[in-house]
Symmetry: C2
Subunit: 202 residues, 2 copies
C-alpha cells in the first residue's frame, strides 16, 4: 500500500557533484557549487545536465563562459561538498576554505577542476532551458580524467574504488554493496563467474 | 594525478529507476523500461528528466501519451530492474515476467506504476529535446506516493529505509552508510545532535 505525498523532487538516489567554474573577469573568483540536480542525458555525444538557480554566484559565470567542470565526490570530500552547497562564492573563496586545489581541465578555456576529486568531466554548455526555480544547462562532456589509483593493471577504470557519494532526500550516503552488473539477471554462469558474481537475482 | 580518458557518460552514482508507461491502443502492453539517464531538473515546479532512445518500445508510448511513472528501485527489485533493462517490451510482458503488479497512479490517465516500488512519481511530459542517441523527456511530477512502511510515527517520509539502488559505470549498488545531512558541515552541536550525527566533517 502506498500513501500519497505532495508532488516534489523525490527522485533518489541522485548524484551529488561539485561543479566548478571560473571566468577571466578580474572581479570573479573561481567557484564551486554543489549540485544534486544533475544527470546524464545522452550517451553519444556524451552529455550531462545540471540545474542551477539564477540567483547563484556560479549561474552568471557558467552562463557567460559556457563552461563548467563536474567533479565527482568521494566520501572524504563529502564535508567540503556540503560546505560548497551552503556557502556562496560571493562571500567565500571555496577552494581556499576547503583546502582544494584548482586543476586545469582539458578542452576548457575558463573553468578549473578540483584536483582532489576522483573524476573530473569538462563540460561545454549547448542549451539553457528555463524551467521554474532552476535553469537547466545541457552540456557536452568534452573531456574526462580520473585519478591514477582508480585504474587497474590493465588500464580499466574501476569507479567502485572511489567510494562515491549520493544524495537521498536531504542526506549524503556512501556507496554500499555491489548488487550486480548490467545484464546480470540474464547472464550465463560463465559470464557471472567472469564478473565476480555468485548468483543471478530476480 | 589524473589520467585522461575518452569523454563519456561517467557521471556517477546515477539513479536507476523503472519507468512504466501504458497506452489505450489495443496493441500496446503496459511496459517497463529501466532508465539510468534520469535526474531531478527543477524544484518548483518539481520536474524530472529521463533520456530514452527513439528505438525503444516505450519511446512511442511516452511520446504519444505524454505520461510515464518513475518507480524507485529497492535492493529486492534490482534483478527485475536489470531484466527490464535488457529485454524489450516488444517481446516480453515485463509486468508478468517479473511478477510485478500494475498500480493506478494519481494524476495520470494512461501510465500505471509498479505496486512493488517503494516510491512512485506520476510524470507529465512538458518538453522533448533531441540530443543524439537519446531524446530527453522533461516532465512535471504531478503526484507522489510512497510505501506505508517508509513513514515514521509522525508521518515523516524516511527514504533511507528503502535501500535504494544506484548505478555506477555499469554496476548496481545498494545505498551505504549515511555521511551527513544537507548543512551538516556548518551545523551547530545542537543541530547535529537533533539529526543524529556525532561530528561535522570537512
Amino acid at each position: 500500500m502506498h500513501r500519497t505525498l505532495p508532488p516534489s523532487s523525490l527522485l533518489a538516489p541522485v548524484p551529488v557533484v561539485m561543479v566548478s567554474c571560473a571566468s577571466d573577469r578580474p572581479d570573479v573568483k573561481p567557484n564551486i557549487i554543489t549540485i544534486a540536480w544533475a544527470g546524464t542525458v545522452c550517451t553519444k555525444p556524451p552529455m550531462v545536465s545540471i540545474s542551477v538557480r539564477k540567483s547563484r554566484y556560479s549561474y552568471d559565470i557558467i552562463k557567460e563562459t559556457g563552461e563548467f567542470a563536474v567533479n565527482l565526490v568521494a566520501g572524504e570530500l563529502a564535508g567540503a561538498c556540503d560546505f560548497c552547497g551552503v556557502k556562496s562564492g560571493r562571500d567565500v573563496d571555496k577552494f581556499a576554505s576547503c583546502s582544494l586545489t584548482p586543476a586545469k581541465v582539458r578542452g576548457l578555456s575558463f573553468a578549473v577542476g578540483i584536483a582532489e576529486s576522483p573524476l573530473i568531466l569538462g563540460c561545454k554548455v549547448k542549451q539553457t532551458i528555463e524551467l521554474g526555480t532552476h535553469d537547466m544547462f545541457i552540456a557536452e562532456i568534452v573531456s574526462a580524467a580520473a585519478k591514477e589509483e582508480l585504474f587497474d593493471g590493465s588500464g580499466k577504470l574501476c569507479l567502485d574504488k572511489a567510494n562515491l557519494v549520493s544524495y537521498i532526500h536531504g542526506d549524503y550516503y556512501e556507496t554500499g554493496k555491489r548488487l550486480g552488473f548490467f545484464g546480470w539477471s540474464v547472464a550465463s554462469k560463465k559470464a557471472l563467474k567472469r564478473r565476480n558474481m555468485k548468483t543471478r537475482l530476480r
